[in-house]
């Protein structure tokens, strides 16, 4: 059986590793405890979802993981100020955010367990995320951060709006999109 659900206290000792060292740095022991500590469940900021294959009640495999958080506009604009971005893009972005009320979501990570990669699970999780956002039927601004090496992973519907440099990870980009609908 396959289940997509929020991370809970019961998952604390389940293991999840993607095999990408940079991704896995967040939970070096492989346990989901680190994710749980950052989740709203434990007073953190993130909503974390896991895709599980349940072999039987005692035997669960975490196939993939998704986490994101809601951010208020002022917090986002403060963060944006630390980026290098073109004046025209900044103007359009700020105008759009001020013109209409948007939910702002930072999509923090999507990862797939190392033994189950190359089976489009990442795309399934990405689609599930879109579903979670759209079912609320709110205008939404979504942004992600991606390091230079993986820039090509982002679809063309996302705009690369800004860049920055991190001491450890080097150049990275902020990509975003507005999800809209007309009444």
């Amino acid at each position: 059986m396959f289940i997509f659900r929020r991370l809970s206290e019961n998952d604390i000792d389940l293991k999840f590793k993607t095999g990408y060292n940079a991704f896995d740095e967040i939970n070096p022991d492989g346990r989901l405890k680190a994710y749980l500590n950052d989740d709203i469940v434990r007073g953190g900021e993130y909503c974390t979802y896991i895709l599980i294959e349940e072999i039987d009640t005692e035997n669960l495999i975490i196939l993939g993981l998704l986490r994101y958080k809601f951010i208020d506009k002022e917090q986002f604009l403060t963060e944006l100020a630390s980026y290098e971005l073109e004046k025209e893009i900044e103007k359009n972005l700020v105008q759009q955010l001020n013109k209409t009320e948007y939910s702002i979501i930072y999509l923090s990570r999507i990862g797939v367990e190392k033994e189950n990669q190359d089976m489009n699970i990442g795309q399934i999780i990405s689609n599930f995320f879109e579903f979670l956002v759209k079912r609320k039927h709110e205008r939404t601004f979504i942004y992600v951060k991606v390091i230079d090496k993986y820039k090509d992973f982002i679809t063309p519907t996302y705009d690369f709006i800004a860049k920055n440099d991190d001491k450890k990870w080097g150049r990275y980009y902020l990509a975003s999109k507005f999800l809209e609908f007309d009444e």
Partner: protein, 61 residues
């Protein structure tokens, strides 16, 4: 008179067309909008965030 006003307002309302498939996007349906190109993409053509690969992240966030 009222009917003609309604018609006028409908005509005035800008049609939203997907920049990829050319489909008209009806009211209430989601679409994504680029603030750089101004292009609109309907939900059928918007493939979400991943184009390939199984992970997406900024380390430690």
């Amino acid at each position: 008179m009222e009917k003609s006003k309604e018609k006028e307002s409908v005509l005035k309302k800008k049609k939203l067309t997907c920049s990829i498939c050319g489909r008209n996007i009806p009211s209430g349906e989601y679409y994504s909008k680029s603030i750089i190109s101004g292009k609109i993409t309907c939900s059928d053509c918007d493939k979400g965030v991943l184009i390939k690969g199984d992970f997406l992240f900024f380390p430690n966030e």
